[in-house]
């Protein structure tokens, strides 16, 4: 039969390429922002992991007070010494050890909060965008409501409620902080996912799947999820530093992680409140620089990821 003859166009096909995963990693690594961000984030992770080791080597626990060795005669904290590499705070605690433990707290609050928000938000956005109609109207209204509560003020009222009659927290503050941050960021993921799904559900790609008889579950799994997840993951990386700052802000205001547990926010608050940073600058600079570095690292990484993965931005 004549139609087995290959057309010339069909014969000119580029050679087979490596798997998409490896291609993607290569493309990511070629982006300078991704490399820089990954290195900084790597340093922050290392710092968080090394906290117990450094604590053991120096013999200083994160909440231990060394009033004899770390404070001078006037009761002021000493500056950097061999024993206290970043000096001490007003209670004679080791600033370096506390800063490293602060990295753990930051990540242990930021990562779960952002991940929970991503999972819940994406699932809700997916349902809203895909099933349209009344479901969509109800969910969109819920998203509007969730977004209209301003973060810090509302977090204040929720955290204020967490104080029982005696002033002692009812639920561990860390759990409350994670819950509140997740409560405030799911709506962004939901809105993002909803928008992406709305665009895809009427696309020729999905209609083509419908005409070959694919089920809704199959369309969501093969057509929709793989095409929205890269953007959602990029947004995770965008939201994470914002959520780390959110935890630090709540702790700074005295309603988040409570002293003596170390958090960059409450360390900075203490440095400012006591004005001790004017005597012992590392008291402020330690947690301040650490927080700055973490946020810069994740911001750079997410900007790089967005350049590579987010098709909307790439077109620009």
């Amino acid at each position: 039969m004549a139609d087995t003859i290959h057309s010339p166009v069909a014969l000119i096909v580029p050679r087979a390429s490596p798997s998409p995963g490896i291609l993607l990693l290569k493309r990511l690594w070629r982006e300078r922002a991704v490399r820089t961000g990954a290195v900084i984030v790597g340093i922050v992770l290392l710092a968080a992991l090394s906290a117990p080791v450094v604590s053991h080597l120096l013999g200083h626990g994160p909440m231990e007070q060394f009033e004899g060795t770390a404070l001078d005669e006037m009761g002021l904290p000493i500056g950097p010494t061999l024993e206290f590499p970043l000096g001490a705070d007003g209670n004679g605690r080791d600033v370096l050890v506390r800063t490293l433990y602060g990295a753990q707290v930051s990540l242990l609050v930021g990562v779960p909060a952002t991940t929970i928000a991503m999972i819940i938000g994406t699932a809700i956005g997916l349902v809203s965008g895909f099933f349209a109609g009344r479901t969509d109207r109800i969910i969109s209204q819920a998203i509007d409501v969730a977004l209209s509560f301003p973060f810090v003020v509302t977090a204040l009222s929720l955290l204020a409620l967490n104080r029982g009659g005696t002033g002692q927290p009812i639920v561990p503050p860390m759990v409350v902080v994670i819950t509140i941050i997740a409560l405030f960021s799911w709506a962004y993921f939901a809105r993002l996912a909803r928008g992406l799904v709305l665009e895809l559900r009427t696309s020729p790609m999905v209609e083509a799947s419908r005409t070959i008889g694919a089920s809704w579950a199959r369309i969501i799994w093969f057509d929709i999820l793989p095409n929205i997840l890269p953007t959602v993951f990029v947004y995770w990386a965008v939201q994470l530093p914002a959520n780390i700052v959110a935890e630090a802000t709540l702790s700074f205001l005295g309603v988040g992680i409570q002293a003596p547990m170390p958090s960059w926010g409450n360390m900075i608050a203490e440095a400012q409140r006591t004005s001790l940073y004017q005597e012992q600058p590392w008291f402020l600079a330690g947690p301040g620089l650490a927080l700055f570095l973490t946020v810069v690292g994740f911001n750079t990484l997410s900007a790089g990821l967005r350049n590579v993965l987010d098709p909307n931005r790439r077109r620009a």
Binding site: M1, A2, D3, T4, I5, H6, S7, V9, A10, L11, V13, P14, A16, S17, P20, S203, P204, M205, E207, A208, S209, R210, T211, I212, G213, A214, S215, R218, F222, D223, P226, N227
Partner: protein, 535 residues
């Protein structure tokens, strides 16, 4: 002396050499047509010569405007040329006009950035220009935004901007490509009239030799950044010297289809699909009204109409992607689409009707390999054995004349033509009795179009599948379809055997459509031209 000429022009984007040394020129009152397929460098050479490419492009060679070198001129001096000396008309008038500025402002700005002029004078000149380009009631249109106008009106606004300062040269880059065929004819007439009135030199860029055949004095054929052939129009159309020019001429269908689909005996085909008095409206705006027709077994039915005629809506209704507001559709006597809500097609009918969409870039999942995409129909309908699946997929790829190594690729690694073949393969996988093909070749290059058209015809012969072939392009319809339906504003105005409709059209609208086919004045000169492509 040439008004405008380029000499050994080279344009490079990063590592890609888009234009590799081309030379041409145009004189006052003459029209130079530059013709080539996508990627030939035809637009890049003109935009590069006039400094309109982004800074990342590097342009070398000589560009003379009335004898003066303009390549490398400082931006300020170039700006004084653009507008007063050189006017531009671009392809898609919707994207080329500012969406948030009124057309009056946009035309007026073309004058006021070069001349000191009072508001009232400007207003009057804009009204005169609107009138000149044939826009009725300019006063009422003055404060319209581009989105309020039809495609043809928008292109007239673009032309008004180009001629605002009566330049000696107009560069028109595919000015009619995004337009309906009747509108295209009107815009070509307008450009020709303006050129004659003002003695302007015109450079007209197009992918289609037919479009420029009525207005070109000289033709430059480009391919891969080089000039293939350059000659007076008569020589190009009557005595082409290069194979590629002949191939383009063959694909161009000057003056309508060169051959009609082989006539089949109407009685021999039993009816397959029956569309009865279907109506559809969106937001109380009627799109289809009382549409009835049938498609026979193994028949290719053409559905032709201009934008907004409702032809794609018919396709979606038949494919079960939408429901009518009135009427019913049945396949082999079984009703499946009626007014109502919920899923349209029951499972067994679902596999009988398949779709090929216009844009193969959008209809293939960019994150799945071709093999997974083509295996889908079989997996959904119960094939589980891996080896069997692979055999079936390979057979599909062979059916659409692709080589087996495309299976390992992602859609982005294929050309447009290859992608559309994959889409066709997916459509035939379930051995449907009807395929709805909605503008399946419109996004493809003109030579690729011809190949895909022939593939569809062969698949019909081999598999006995029927096609509803939706297109705005009369030439394609004429060559492929057994019968044709002409749709105007949601109503069928004419139905008949293709050759009969083309040669003895009964309805005025059909006659107008046929008269608008470009290239009527230059019927194909030699029969041997067709051999190049049909051989």
């Amino acid at each position: 002396m040439s008004v405008f000429s380029v000499d050994h022009l080279r344009v490079r984007f990063g590592g890609v050499q888009a234009v590799r040394g081309v030379s041409f020129g145009v004189e006052s009152g003459r029209t130079l047509a530059i013709v080539g397929e996508s990627g030939s460098g035809k637009s890049a050479s003109l935009l590069g010569a006039t400094g309109l490419l982004p800074g990342s492009a590097s342009v070398e060679g000589n560009v003379l405007h009335r004898g003066q070198e303009i390549l490398g001129l400082p931006d300020r001096d170039l700006r004084r040329l653009r507008g007063p000396q050189i006017g531009f008309v671009f392809q898609d008038p919707l994207s080329n006009l500012h969406p948030l500025k009124t057309i009056g402002d946009q035309i007026g700005e073309a004058i006021s950035v070069h001349q000191r002029i009072t508001r009232r004078q400007k207003h009057e000149r804009v009204l005169a220009l609107l009138d000149d380009v044939g826009i009725a009631d300019p006063q009422a249109r003055f404060s319209d935004y581009p989105r309020h106008l039809s495609g043809g009106m928008r292109q007239r606004v673009m032309i008004a901007i180009a001629i605002a300062l009566d330049p000696g040269l107009i560069i028109a880059d595919e000015p009619t490509t995004a337009l309906d065929v009747t509108v295209q004819a009107a815009i070509l007439d307008l450009l020709k009239r303006l050129q004659e009135e003002h003695g302007t030199a015109l450079i007209f860029v197009s992918h289609d030799l037919a479009v420029v055949s009525d207005i070109a004095d000289d033709v430059v054929v480009m391919r891969d950044g080089l000039v293939v052939e350059q000659a007076p129009a008569d020589d190009i159309y009557l005595r082409p010297r290069q194979d590629y020019t002949r191939e383009l001429l063959g694909a161009a269908r000057l003056g309508g289809p060169k051959s009609y689909a082989v006539q089949r005996d109407r009685q021999a085909t039993r009816p397959l699909l029956d569309v009865q008095a279907v109506a559809r409206s969106f937001a109380s705006r009627p799109v289809l009204d009382d549409v009835s027709f049938t498609i026979g077994e193994a028949e290719i039915l053409g559905l032709v109409g201009e934008s907004g005629s409702g032809k794609s809506t018919i396709g979606r209704l038949i494919a079960g992607l939408d429901r009518p507001n009135a009427g019913r559709i049945s396949l082999k006597g079984r009703d499946y689409s009626q007014p109502g809500s919920g899923g349209v097609l029951p499972g067994d009918l679902r596999r009988s009707i398949q779709v090929v969409f216009q844009d193969p870039y959008a209809s293939l999942n960019p994150r799945r390999r071709i093999e997974a995409i083509l295996a889908d129909p079989f997996v959904i309908h119960g094939t589980v054995d891996k080896a069997e699946l692979r055999e079936k997929v390979k057979q599909l790829v062979t059916d659409v004349e692709l080589s087996h190594d495309v299976l390992e690729r992602l859609p982005s690694q294929l050309s447009g033509g290859q992608r559309q073949r994959v889409a066709i393969a997916r459509a035939i996988a379930l051995r449907p009795s009807l395929i709805v093909a909605d503008e399946p070749v419109s996004a493809l290059d003109i030579t690729t179009q011809a190949k895909v058209i022939r593939l569809l015809a062969r698949l019909r012969d081999k598999l006995g599948v029927s096609f509803l072939f939706i297109s705005h392009d009369l030439g394609v319809i004429g060559e492929l379809c057994d019968r044709v339906i002409v749709l105007e504003k949601g109503q069928i105005v004419e139905v008949g055997q293709t050759q009969q409709v083309f040669e003895r059209p009964a309805h005025a609208y059909t006659r107008r459509l046929l008269a608008s086919i470009p290239g009527r004045k230059r019927p194909p000169a030699e029969a041997e031209l067709e051999d190049v492509i049909y051989g």
